[in-house]
Symmetry: C2
Subunit: 339 residues, 2 copies
């Protein structure tokens, strides 16, 4: 298992009886090489099983064709679909994807970003906008373009590719309120360090305010994005008096956990308690009843984020933000409150 010193540009050059420069050109701009020469070089490359050395190439060309992404977690499906689309677009463009996950922890994310950059990532995908200015400065200083996905803001210096979490959540809340719900529970993800979660809470709050429902009518619990926590949370919410008739969840994972627990407590969903989700990931149609939730076009978001990033790297300029429109999907987990 030793490193039988691989063939280099030089070896290929000798084999093809040309200079290393010509071999390099055959690789990077075949058009500028004579047909005959090109063929000879390619033959030599195949014969020797040559493939370029990444480090050397990165060093000389000052780019790696590598794009980094730091996502909060790979453990559940929230980011899976979007990331898959992102990666497909990236590799279709001849670049590779470097992934790291931060476990929703800011300091870890910062470290991962720096690592990716050190590893030569020449563009980066980040989730949301919530991180220290240091990092943005760090990236700016190195001229590394980045896209912030899963969120959207107007008039920002950043390039967002995502959706307005605030209005999306607000729309869902309005739908809930229009149905006649008056006493509301909400299970949110941890809002500390998470702008998406925070915006969703604010959206719900705003909807209540506009419907002249007192803020005390909203019982809010924050938990990590895990089934069990959501279960405990809904149990707590249901212990309130008067008990809420609906529980708005910050995402589908939480909603599924809440539905499961509610059912195991002997409640019927949605007759006894309505529950709504957010994201429209796979599980939302596996649970029974299926979740009424906010559909996010994850694949589209991933693809567009990739396109923006590639464009920014290519042109060296800031790409305009792209806003995607969430849609509420009505399935079975939300209905009118019982009289």
């Amino acid at each position: 298992m030793r490193n039988h010193s691989l063939p280099t540009l030089e070896d290929v050059a000798q084999e093809a009886r040309v200079s290393t420069a010509t071999v390099s050109r055959s690789l990077n701009s075949p058009d500028s090489v004579a047909e005959k020469t090109l063929l000879r070089v390619q033959a030599a490359i195949r014969l020797l099983g040559y493939s370029p050395n990444f480090g050397a190439r990165a060093l000389a060309a000052k780019r790696t064709n590598t794009i980094g992404a730091v996502i909060p977690t790979m453990d559940n499906a929230i980011f899976a679909r979007g990331l898959q689309a992102f990666q497909e677009t990236i590799s279709k463009n001849g670049s590779t994807l470097l992934v790291a996950s931060s476990s929703y922890r800011l300091e870890l994310e910062e470290e991962q970003i720096r690592t990716l950059v050190a590893r030569g990532a020449d563009a980066i995908l980040l989730i949301g906008e919530n991180r220290s200015d240091d990092i943005y400065e760090f990236l700016a200083k190195r001229g590394i373009p980045y896209v912030l996905a899963w969120n959207y803001r107007q008039n920002s210096d950043h390039c967002f590719v995502g959706f307005n979490n605030h209005t999306a959540a607000k729309d869902m809340a309005k739908k809930v309120l229009n149905l006649g719900h008056f006493k509301i529970g909400m299970i949110s993800g941890l809002t500390h360090d998470n702008d998406r979660a925070r915006d969703r809470v604010l959206g719900v709050r705003e909807a209540l305010a506009e419907h002249d429902i007192p803020a005390e009518n909203l019982a809010l619990i924050e938990v990590p994005y895990e089934f069990e926590y959501a279960g405990d949370a809904i149990e707590e919410l249901l212990a309130n008096n008067p008990r809420p008739t609906v529980v708005i969840c910050g995402n589908d994972i939480l909603a599924v956990g809440a539905v499961k627990r509610a059912k195991s407590m002997g409640l019927r969903v949605p007759e006894d308690i309505s529950i709504t989700g957010f994201d429209d990931i796979e599980v939302s149609t596996i649970i029974e009843p299926e979740l009424t939730t906010v559909h996010i076009p994850h694949r589209k978001m991933g693809r567009i984020a990739a396109e923006c990033l590639l464009a920014m790297r290519r042109d060296g300029s800031l790409s305009p933000s792209k806003e995607l429109k969430p849609i509420i999907i009505e399935r079975g987990s939300l209905c009118e409150p019982r009289k």
Copy 2:
């Protein structure tokens, strides 16, 4: 967004009034540098905001500290949990993970592997063993260690970190048969190019044979790992006469799809039709009834695979294979056939 030419080793050396060699040593083997000098160097590094250039480092050191992984898909949860654990272990060791997915396509996988290697991956995680010899030769020739996960074979030249799909599926089939089922349906993933799927089918077949059940009693359908396909498949199976009393599924995704469709056809699971899964991913406890399935210790597998890979890279020798033991988890989707 300019590239204000970043500080180099040389800059740091000047600032700290030492040679570049000393700076390099301060970074890579701090112990071999005098306390005083070290402090001066570190101060300079901080002052200048220096961070080493990856390409140059890779070029000079002949290693990248990058580990690659090619998985069939990131789109569903099958590999998510294991990969997350893999990545955690990798990064705890100061290496980074490079991920690519092959969409279950062999030629794409080959391309991805070559790309990862070209990108400087100095060790690689692969799923299963089913690929051309060319690739194994390619890796061997470059001295790049690899681990094959999600499968296990004895007396192999490869390092496997996984489980015996054959016996795991066979055990499940035996449990089914011992319950008295006699007419069996099976929904498998596409076995072409997929050794895990193939082994699972073989395991089921073998169990039948040992129970003296004629091979014709097994109705087998192969489909891609997607809910809808599984739904169509079970519909087809249930149209058989006599109809099977149980459907063994190649994984949980298929099982969930099958359960959903069976229920929507008005059948009760498991009273009218038993259905079993494989993997024990999240969805298996979300569907109702919860899936009786084969539990695979995904996180453990990911962690161990990483440890093996790191060891192989460190020692330059083949690491022994590790076998993990699947366990059948009994939940509600399997019961005795009705008389």
